[in-house]
């Protein structure tokens, strides 16, 4: 034990005395270890991002969107017809009795008016359960409820950002906004949705109210360039009781929709499946990253071997002397092995330090989420140690096999 400490001390000193050589040798390992940690941090951050996004969609949900097909654009005067129909809704309701919540929504994009202010807004006509599925924070007032819907009340809930724009000085709860010639009483303000694809300027009205007022047709776009679209339901969200139900229901829905919509004017999203796909691609990503990082560590190791071999021939006389002074082969081997290992561990340590710092910069400048894990640091550090032992062993054995007489004469 004592002699190991002594060799470590000696090799540390020899590395310190040859700073330039040590720095250049260690560089490969430093970058190798640093890149392993950084890559894993970026990979993990990206996957956490995706997984969070998918989890926000609700892991027990099935989401069906109406999709306007680019090639269905008709030149005739009639409205564009596409998407989920009320018949689809009924079929789904009947085919999947185990569904916990079934929420339909019809969304519009057009201007809302308050006095002389007009703002382009996403208006979502939906039911009360929409708010439970997409958990929202109520800031003020109340949410839409079933009675509002059944009674076709002309009420709306708006987001905070929209409220600030429309009512900078007034209390929104006492005001009315106008959307497509219908006035809606503001009954609630919610915080902006965390959902990435929804606009911060959103107003929610009751599905039945909207249907009674506008039917299934809507005018999209601005006053000069607009189209009339005929869509029953823009989006349908099914909340299922458990994972098995999600999988079986999604298969049924796919079958039903395909049968009645051969032109595929819909899109079915199953977050739990997306999650699995994301995890699978993450695994692939990790393998690729690992391979790249492994190669850079390998290159670092070869750099160490190169320098150690040079060191051995440079220090032939020293080896001969040590042998003459009583060193056995194993002493020489352990000396060079220790040097190689210390070298790569020093590199590993610097690499870990850089690997902690670099992801911060990446997060800061590239606005990418990174998660540096202790385990990736440990793995990278331990691997760098092994690299040192592995690539130090050949030069070490070579050094010990020198005949002391020849080594001294060198």
């Amino acid at each position: 034990m004592n002699s190991i400490l002594y060799t470590v001390k000696l090799s540390l000193r020899s590395l310190y005395l040859h700073k330039m050589r040590t720095a250049l040798t260690v560089l490969g390992i430093v970058f190798g270890v640093c890149s392993v940690i950084t890559m894993l941090a970026v990979g993990k951050g990206a996957s956490a991002d995706t997984q969070k996004m998918i989890a926000d969609m609700g892991s027990l949900n099935i989401i069906i969107d109406s999709v306007k097909k680019a090639n269905t654009e008709n030149k005739s005067k009639g409205p564009q017809v596409y998407g989920i129909t009320n018949a689809d809704f009924q079929r789904i309701e009947e085919t999947i009795p185990e569904v916990k919540k079934l929420v339909k929504q019809r969304s519009y994009r057009n201007n809302v008016y308050y006095n002389d202010i007009s703002i382009e807004t996403q208006v979502i006509a939906t039911e009360s359960s929409y708010f439970t599925i997409n958990s929202v924070d109520l800031v003020k007032g109340r949410l839409l409820n079933n009675i509002d819907n059944e009674m076709r009340m002309k009420v709306c809930v708006i987001t905070e950002s929209l409220a600030e724009l429309l009512f900078p000085y007034q209390d929104p709860l006492s005001e009315q906004i106008k959307f497509q010639d219908v006035n809606y009483q503001v009954i609630g303000v919610i915080s902006n949705s965390a959902e990435t694809n929804s606009s911060p300027y959103t107003a929610y009205i009751c599905f039945e109210t909207a249907f009674a007022s506008y039917g299934n047709k809507s005018v999209e776009g601005n006053s000069t360039n607009n189209t009339v679209e005929q869509v029953d339901i823009s989006q349908l969200i099914l909340q299922m009781p458990n994972l098995e139900a999600v999988l079986s229901a999604s298969a049924k829905i796919e079958y039903l929709m395909e049968k009645f919509h051969p032109e595929k004017d819909y899109d079915i999203k199953v977050p739990i499946k997306l999650l699995e796909q994301a995890k699978a691609s993450q695994r692939m990503f990790n393998i690729v990253l690992g391979a790249i990082a492994g190669i850079s560590l390998l290159v670092g190791g070869i750099g160490i071997m190169n320098i150690m071999l040079a060191t051995v021939s440079e220090r032939t006389r020293e080896i001969g002397l040590r042998r003459a002074l009583g060193a056995q082969r194993i002493d020489i081997i352990s000396q060079f092995m220790t040097e190689a290992t210390v070298l790569s561990l020093v590199g590993g340590l610097i690499g870990v330090a850089l690997g902690i710092i670099l992801p911060f910069f990446i997060s800061f400048f590239l606005k990418v989420e990174t998660i540096t894990s202790i385990s990736s640091m440990l793995v990278a550090f331990i691997i760098s140690g092994f690299i040192g032992i592995l690539f130090g062993s050949y030069p070490a054995i070579k050094s010990a096999s020198l005949n002391p007489i020849d080594a001294l004469r060198d």
């Binding site: 002699s3 002397l321 040590r322 042998r323 003459a324 002074l325 082969r329 007489i405």
Partner: protein, 227 residues
């Protein structure tokens, strides 16, 4: 106490057998001061290597303190070198990164019962060879003669049976050579056994006994009378 009997050493170079030592018998007693002389190719270097356990003879027996070293393996030979023999080289062979004190202590780390935590012996030897006040210097801060003194102290640290010096003054000027030879004489007077390999007559003169090698044989042997 050191005895070589019917030592032969052959090398095979290519498909040719070179008989570096044809037959040598040699006895070295405790307290002896022997000079081995001869031209290059005479076999004196080979004899030195065998004496230093850096090489083993092809035939014959070599005993140090009654132990035959001919049949020992590499590790055992290392052990003998470390504990029984102190080497002094022409080029000093100090490690440039180590201080004087650390260089003197270097052989201790390869000993089974290591004593290298104890600086007292190394300091005593440094003083003995005349290196007072230079213990923390690096070899490149010393003169050639001082470096050779460090090497001599290093050779003494394990209290060896035999001090083996290979052209110890080959790199030194006449003045320094005389000082180093004075030191050898002092050490010999303290009872140390010394074997010097040299081709310089002045060095040979200072030894108690001189053997001259030629063509792998001892050509002549004489005692110097210093009285």
């Amino acid at each position: 106490m050191i005895s070589l009997k019917k030592i032969k050493k052959e090398f095979i170079i290519g498909n040719q057998v070179v008989r570096a030592i044809k037959e040598v018998d040699l006895e070295i007693k405790q307290g002896d001061y022997l000079a081995i002389m001869g031209t290059s190719g005479s076999g004196k270097s080979t004899l030195l290597n065998i004496l230093g356990c850096l090489d083993v003879p092809t035939q014959g027996s070599y005993e140090i303190e009654g132990n035959n070293v001919v049949d020992l393996d590499d590790n055992q030979l290392s052990q003998i070198r470390g504990s029984q023999i102190g080497f002094v080289f022409q080029a000093y062979n100090l490690l440039p990164d180590l201080t004087v004190l650390e260089n003197i202590k270097l052989p201790l780390i390869y000993q089974k019962n290591r004593r290298d935590e104890d600086d007292a012996e190394a300091i005593r030897l440094a003083h003995l060879v005349g290196l007072k006040g230079r213990l923390d210097h690096k070899p490149n801060e010393l003169s050639g003669g001082q470096q050779q003194r460090v090497a001599i102290a290093r050779a003494l640290i394990n209290n060896p049976v035999l001090i083996l010096a290979d052209e110890p003054t080959g790199n030194l000027d006449t003045q320094t050579e005389a000082e180093i030879l004075d030191l050898f004489e002092e050490l010999n007077a303290m009872g140390k056994t010394i074997v010097v390999v040299t081709h310089e007559d002045e060095v040979g003169e200072r030894a108690k006994r001189v053997i001259v090698m030629r063509d792998g044989l001892i050509q002549s042997e004489k005692d110097n009378n210093h009285e």
